[in-house]
């Protein structure tokens, strides 16, 4: 089975800081693999362990370290789509991926539900739409049996179970099994695994095809909320009294 994992490198969510003067993130934040994408990769590796085949990780935009990590975890090869106009927005990212996916013709495309930086959750669905493939989002459990995926997905008020046959796009949540740590052997092996670098031109994509639909107008910080009234370190009776007085003063006690 040919399994593709879509992987994005994002600013380390633990190190992200907003710089009000720049109106942007502070520069130089370390980039790491998007967490949901690593869950998708883990699922892909487990699928390969079950049915055999090949796991290919693909990323749009700079992703050297994230792709290396994926290879060390066990992916067979990596593809990095880079260059002018990439990554652009979710639409152009999907466009570029689709151009490459049409060559690879994978059976399963795993991706993270969304990325921790832009958080649109659009790339997976856009890829599925452009390839006219079924898509199952919010995947929290799966089994592959008799050529069919039995999928458990998280929905608003519960869990939903679906069956779907490849080819299919699956979007992973972090309720799936934890991504494995790369082994030392995996890290050493990763050096010998192929990483293919492709530009938009290599994929036959014109500048027009890569026109983004979204214009980012910059970042801003939400206005901090007032802390409110905090009652602490007083005896319970007095605390109740104060709370009642407060609620009364706001006309909330009828």
């Amino acid at each position: 089975m040919k399994i593709v994992v879509l992987l994005k490198e994002v600013p380390d969510p633990n190190a992200v800081r907003y710089d009000p003067r720049l109106g942007d993130l502070v520069p130089g934040i370390q980039r790491v693999a998007n967490e949901y994408d690593l869950y998708a990769l883990e699922a892909a590796l487990r699928l390969r362990e079950q049915v055999g085949g090949e796991v290919i990780v693909a990323s749009v935009g700079t992703a050297r370290d994230a792709l290396n990590r994926a290879l060390a975890m066990g992916a067979d090869r990596a593809v990095n789509l880079e260059g002018d106009g990439l990554p652009g927005d979710a639409w152009t990212t999907a466009r570029a991926l689709v151009a490459w996916l049409q060559r690879e013709q994978p059976d399963v495309i795993w991706c993270g539900q969304e990325t921790s930086d832009s958080g649109t959750g659009n790339v997976g669905p856009a890829v599925a739409a452009q390839l006219d493939l079924p898509l199952v989002s919010n995947v929290v459990g799966w089994e592959f049996r008799d050529g069919v995926f039995e999928i458990e997905r998280e929905i608003e008020d519960g869990h939903q179970f679906q069956e779907v046959a490849p080819p299919v796009v699956l979007c992973a949540l972090s309720a799936l099994p934890q991504p494995r740590l790369p082994t030392l052997r995996g890290i050493m092996d990763a050096r010998r695994k192929p990483v293919e670098h492709l530009t938009a031109a290599d994929l036959g994509l014109s500048d027009e095809a890569l026109q983004p639909l979204v214009q980012w107008e910059g970042l801003s910080q939400p206005v901090a909320k007032a802390a409110g009234v905090v009652v602490q370190d007083v005896p319970p009776d007095e605390a109740v009294e104060r709370l009642l007085t407060f609620l009364e003063s706001r006309g909330l006690l009828g």
């Binding site: 130089g28 370390q30 790491v32 740590l181 790369p182 082994t183 030392l184 890290i187 050493m188």
Partner: protein, 432 residues
């Protein structure tokens, strides 16, 4: 299953480990750096002063492209009492132009850049790998084990896993540290604008100030406070011996708060916004706590070896140069195919020929010296600031009378025989 092997494993991607890996990779040695953090610098805490000369021994001309904050043109030493400060300032434009003397750096950024140089030279950097133990075979260290991440074998393992090196302890190269051999440092990174830093510290763009403070900055404990200007942040911290913190039941972050509130420091930090807080151990056991630095198949470098000069507050240059010397030792050992403790003992010789072991030897008694004389950091600053206050206060007292009072008080407070004994003892410690 076949063994996964490389020529050299470096555990830890701090300045020592990266310097070793860089030197080895340049010589064409297959070297892997295993780093516990998600990236180099993720686990590091350093005050943030990087010296130019030792760094250039590894990356000539690094200051043209490395992520540096400010060239340090001014060094201030402060003796602090509860409210007062007495200081010495040295400033020279020479330190503000090429080739410079020292820079403030943000370790997370510097370490990543430095590690990148080693990667560019051909070293493999593997992050997120926690080495738990060394592997032994016939009494030789032959590799490392990283829990469920597996094992990796090598001709030599360089232990560069930092202060309180668990690996050196497990390998039996060092005993457990004693609390009087480690300082605990708390540090904050505070944001101010570039122009505000330049205004408050009286420096021009790209130039910065380093402040080192003793006395009440650590509540009279044996320790220090520091403040370094970065581009648009200030690194401020305090450190004290772990043993003192324990005995006096002082929390190092309270020390830092006290330092930040000191009247000589507070205005420099006013309105600055907290960006990051960190705390770290600094090995200060020095000469007396030296581990076994070489063994069959292993070398110990940097903080893991306790290579820090607590007197001059140098650490990163000891780390980088020890890493380089370890690498050079391995290159010589590799040329003859012998990685025994005997062959690797050249490392000790190289350390003796460098500044590292001589400096550790020079200052070997400084910590005990100050520790035996707690009044150095308590009574002397009090006496000296009092004398200056009298001297500078204009109050109608005839000068001869004023000078007389000052001298009498100084004699009373400083106790000249004790002072003379201390000065002589101090000089004798440092100069031979």
């Amino acid at each position: 299953m076949s063994q996964e092997r490389v020529e050299v494993i470096v555990v830890g991607a701090g300045p020592a480990g990266v310097a070793a890996a860089l030197t080895l990779a340049r010589a064409g040695v297959e070297v892997v750096v295993l780093e516990r953090g998600a990236y180099p610098g993720a686990k590091n805490v350093m005050g943030g002063i990087l010296y130019r000369q030792p760094t250039e021994e590894l990356v000539p001309g690094f200051w043209r492209e490395a992520p540096l904050e400010r060239a340090i043109v001014e060094q201030r030493y402060l003796l602090l009492t509860e409210e007062d400060a007495l200081g010495v300032t040295y400033r020279t434009p020479a330190f503000g132009q090429p080739p410079y003397n020292a820079f403030s750096v943000l370790r997370a950024e510097w370490d990543r850049w430095f590690a990148q140089q080693a990667e560019n030279a051909g070293a493999l950097l593997a992050t997120g790998v926690t080495v738990e133990d060394v592997l032994w075979e016939d009494g030789r260290i032959v590799g490392v084990r990283a829990g469920e991440q597996g094992e990796l074998y090598a001709d030599v393992v360089i232990l560069a896993d930092g202060a309180n090196s668990l690996l050196a302890q497990k390998a039996g190269l060092t005993r457990e540290w004693r609390p009087e051999e480690q300082a605990l440092v708390a540090k904050e990174l505070l944001r101010l604008s570039e122009t505000e830093i330049e205004r408050r510290f009286g420096v021009s763009a790209g130039h910065g100030v380093a402040i080192e403070a003793f006395g009440a900055s650590t509540g009279g404990l044996l320790g220090y406070g520091f403040l370094y200007t970065n581009r648009d942040t200030v690194s401020v911290g305090t450190g004290a011996l772990l043993s003192d913190l324990i005995t006096h039941e002082v929390n190092v972050s309270d020390l830092l708060d006290r330092f930040k509130r000191h009247p000589a420091i507070a205005p420099l930090l006013e309105g600055a916004e907290l960006v990051e807080y960190s705390a770290h151990l600094i090995p200060e056991g020095g000469w007396r706590a030296l581990p076994t630095l070489f063994a069959d198949g292993a070398l110990v470098v940097g903080d893991a070896a306790g290579f820090v000069n607590p007197l001059s507050r140098e650490g990163s240059n000891f780390a980088m140069i020890s890493g380089k010397l370890a690498a050079e030792t391995i290159l010589e050992a590799r040329a003859v195919g012998d990685f025994s403790a005997f062959a690797l003992s050249r490392y000790w010789q190289k350390l003796e020929e460098s500044f590292i072991l001589p400096d550790l030897e020079t200052i070997r008694n400084v910590t005990p010296f100050v520790h035996q004389r707690p009044y150095l950091l308590r009574e002397y600053p009090e006496a000296l600031t009092r004398a200056f206050q009298h001297y500078l206060t204009v109050d109608g007292t005839p000068k001869a009378q004023k000078y007389g009072t000052i001298i009498r008080e100084l004699i009373r407070d400083l106790r000249p025989t004790r002072l003379l004994r201390d000065v002589l003892a101090g000089v004798f410690q440092l100069v031979r």
